[in-house]
């Protein structure tokens, strides 16, 4: 790729386009769910959080976290289809928003739902399997968020990739947590699980294709 040194280019490069246009837009768009929840909470612009605002915040933040996890997992397949978009540049931001909404979700539970009753938080995490599962997912997100900087990526090298494969398990745990807390109507969590199944299934097939391609006539191709 770097046969000739890049001449300093003027105008809009992909790099600059992402930095000054795409990323700010995605950043603001990612805050829309939060803005909507705040509006609903205060009854602004005709939005309503209903009569049980604590439950509303728990559910909506949790679902939004799952939405962002699935979005990060969609980046790779879309990237495969349209490499010129360089969507990988957005993946870190989407992942960090997943962590952000998961953290808000957990904070609502601790602060508003349980009123800082740490004894009860502990008891819930130990005794309520669906909370154990959700809490595990949150804990596993933590190292991914911490190692999301360029420096950590460089420092960890190949181990970084391996570490960040945790997201597959986290996604499954998160959806399981959602599924398990439903009283009986599990249609929505099943939908999330179906999307996850497609995204993970794609990765299985993809690695198989790649292996076959590597083994095949184009032996020189590397992943």
């Amino acid at each position: 790729m770097a046969d000739t040194p890049n001449p300093p280019r003027r105008g809009l490069t992909v790099e600059r386009g992402y930095r000054s246009i795409v990323k700010p837009i995605v950043f603001v768009a990612s805050l829309v769910p939060l803005g909507w929840m705040v509006c609903a909470l205060f009854g602004w612009f005709g939005f309503s959080a209903g009569v049980d605002p604590v439950k509303f915040l728990e559910l909506e933040n949790g679902k939004t976290a799952l939405d962002f996890i699935l979005l990060t997992l969609m980046v790779t397949p879309v990237h495969d289809l349209a490499r010129h978009l360089q969507l990988l540049r957005l993946r870190r931001m989407l992942g960090l928003f997943a962590f952000f909404y998961a953290l808000v979700h957990f904070s609502v539970y601790v602060v508003l739902d349980l009123d800082f009753d740490w004894h009860m938080v502990g008891a819930d995490i130990v005794k309520r399997p669906y909370i154990t599962v959700g809490f595990t997912a949150l804990l596993l997100l933590l190292p991914l968020a911490v190692t999301s900087t360029n420096r950590m990526m460089r420092r960890l090298g190949r181990r970084w990739t391996r570490l960040h494969r945790l997201i597959y398990g986290i996604a499954a745990l998160g959806i399981w947590h959602y599924y398990w807390q439903e009283k009986i109507d599990v249609r929505m969590p099943i939908r999330y699980a179906a999307v996850l199944a497609v995204l993970l299934g794609y990765r299985l097939l993809r690695s198989r294709w790649l292996r076959r391609m590597i083994a095949g006539r184009r032996g020189a191709l590397t992943a």
Partner: protein, 326 residues
Amino acid sequence: MRFRVPGIAPSEITPPDAYFGRRAFLAGALAAAGTALGRAGAAVLPPRAGMPLAFTQDAADSVDALVHAPNQNETPNTWDQITQYNNYYEFGTSKTDPAEYAGQLQVRPWNIAVAGEAEVTGNFALEDFVKPYALEERIYRFRCVEAWSMVIPWVGFPLARLLQQFKPTSRAKYVAFDTLYRPGQMPGQRVPVLKWPYAEGLRIDEAMHPLSFMVVGLYGRVLPNQNGAPLRLIVPWKYGFKSIKAIVRIVFTEQQPLTTWSEAAPDEYGFYANVNPSVPHPRWSQARQRRIGNPFFHERQDTLLFNGYANEVASLYTGMDLRRNF
């Protein structure tokens, strides 16, 4: 007493404070008018949700309309809270589905079938069914199995009064209730999340307990559809799902009847479903509850055994293992 009132406008709803002030006044007026209207009085059920109901504040059977309990916020919830946040899967599984879709349900004409181990059985029109009873108001705590709660001013009459009319035989050990099955007007019934029609039941002594209540109204008005119109049950010491809505069938049985939730998930929802902070749901704690209407930062309050009605109902369960019979 048939007059037409269009659908209920928000401005028409009396705010709780004014409502309870006026209610005290009405009760005084009714008492002054003599007991003729009170005790023997015939319930007249206006045909539309939200129309005013005549009732007496005198609780029959000497039951205090609100049995007070310690450390509970006993301020009744607002009309909006009670009518916009409902679990009524016949209209959808979201809390707002009932308010959105229940309007399409036709609650007139309405018939109730009574069958089973009783001397008097048959089909009854709703108007005749409720006519013999004086309506009264009862402010009960309401605790959902999902760990949220409200305080609600119901209007109705004791279930025992109704059941006695049918002269249950000695073989009547239980009473079973069915909700209407009408998927055309109840969109949730087109989805098999539960087995339709919804069925519930009580042991006969539970049903005959003076706290068990047949409800036709809310806040002094005809019950809105999303709250179970035209006729629903309220058993205030049990989780909300026992308090079956839109009743079309009452059967006296010798065997314990099948009930919808305990059939759907037998290890999670029992036949008794008594409110009990020390018997958790297998997946979540029942020790506390989110009290709807509490301040945002202190929505939680403790859950009480039998929802705070232990003095009244605990004797029904003497010698029973409440953990096994959850």
